[in-house]
């Protein structure tokens, strides 16, 4: 085949549009006025990408669920402090929760442990597909420094653009590209003996 390949990766997370940001603010206003139930709408709207981030960072569905729960509770308690996009604000709470988890896990654990509960894969087939690569990729991700793991997970697992990542992490596109490239090269090194 000649010419140019079409890129296989097609799914990319879309940042919320202006009207959704306004809708989020309207929900926040309602919650702050005493309608606690409305907070469930924000959880439903943003929990999936945040859960994927936490699973990617911790490698543990159980711990990811704990981090998400604690993060949303903190978000609720500090809702009056939201300035700008709610999704970006709550993402940073979750990201900080993951980094705190990594600091603690490094002191107490040196390896990942299998969780008992389902990890949230979309289909039973995907859930059961505990192939070798899945486990080895988890282990290799666990060996990466947090900043590289975070960049790789946001790019490859969450499917975010570099621009969206830069906005969420408040850093430059160039710095993030470098982190993602370094993460890939480290992962390839860790996995190449078996898979390349």
């Amino acid at each position: 085949m000649k010419g140019y390949t079409s890129v296989v990766k097609t799914s990319q997370a879309q940042p919320p549009q202006e009207d959704q940001i306004d809708a989020d603010q309207a929900i926040i206003d309602r919650v702050l006025a005493g309608d606690r139930e409305s907070f469930a709408t924000l959880i439903g709207r943003y929990s999936d990408p945040l859960y994927r981030h936490a699973v990617g960072m911790t490698g543990s569905p159980d711990d990811a669920a704990d981090i998400l729960q604690n993060s949303f509770i903190k978000a609720y308690q500090h809702l009056g402090e939201v300035r700008g996009r709610f999704d970006a604000w709550v993402f940073r709470i979750v990201a900080n929760g993951c980094k705190d988890w990594l600091k603690n896990i490094r002191r107490t654990h040196l390896s990942y442990e299998e969780d008992d509960q389902p990890s949230g894969y979309e289909t039973p087939e995907e859930e059961l597909d505990r192939g070798e690569l899945r486990g080895d990729l988890d282990e290799a991700l666990g060996a990466l420094p947090p900043s590289l793991r975070e960049a790789f997970v946001m790019k490859h697992v969450e499917g975010r653009s570099y621009e969206e990542m830069a906005e969420l992490l408040e850093t430059s596109v160039g710095a993030l590209k470098m982190r993602v490239h370094r993460a890939r090269e480290a992962l390839q090194k860790l996995l190449e003996e078996r898979y390349l």
């Binding site: 140019y4 799914s11 859960y51 992490l169 370094r182 390839q188």
Partner: protein, 97 residues
């Protein structure tokens, strides 16, 4: 201890450690030197969603096959959903407050 909710903290541990070193060591970016492989530029470009010439990918055949496998796995992870019970658990915890 108060939780630090300042979003500007995200990703800046090295520059602004939250606690004095003697209380809690700042998280260093890595604890051991990180070995890295050579991933061809064409592979990075393809993974970054750029158009890449087929011949460039053919020249990196092994790496291309490897990263396609990784992409298949990360693609499955991209569809992971929050456990169905979790939103309810969060709301119950909030109401207890």
């Amino acid at each position: 201890m108060m939780d630090n909710l300042d979003p500007r903290e995200a990703g800046r541990e090295e520059a602004t450690p939250r606690k004095p070193m003697e209380q809690e060591p700042a998280m260093t970016d890595r604890e051991v030197p990180l070995a890295s492989a050579h991933t061809p530029e064409a592979i990075h470009a393809w993974l970054d969603g750029e158009n890449v010439n087929e011949s460039q990918l053919a020249a990196a055949e092994k790496e291309y096959a490897f990263w396609r496998r990784v992409e298949e796995e990360t693609g499955k992870r991209r569809r992971i959903k929050t456990p169905t019970s979790l939103p309810g658990e969060i709301m119950r915890a909030i109401k207890k407050d």
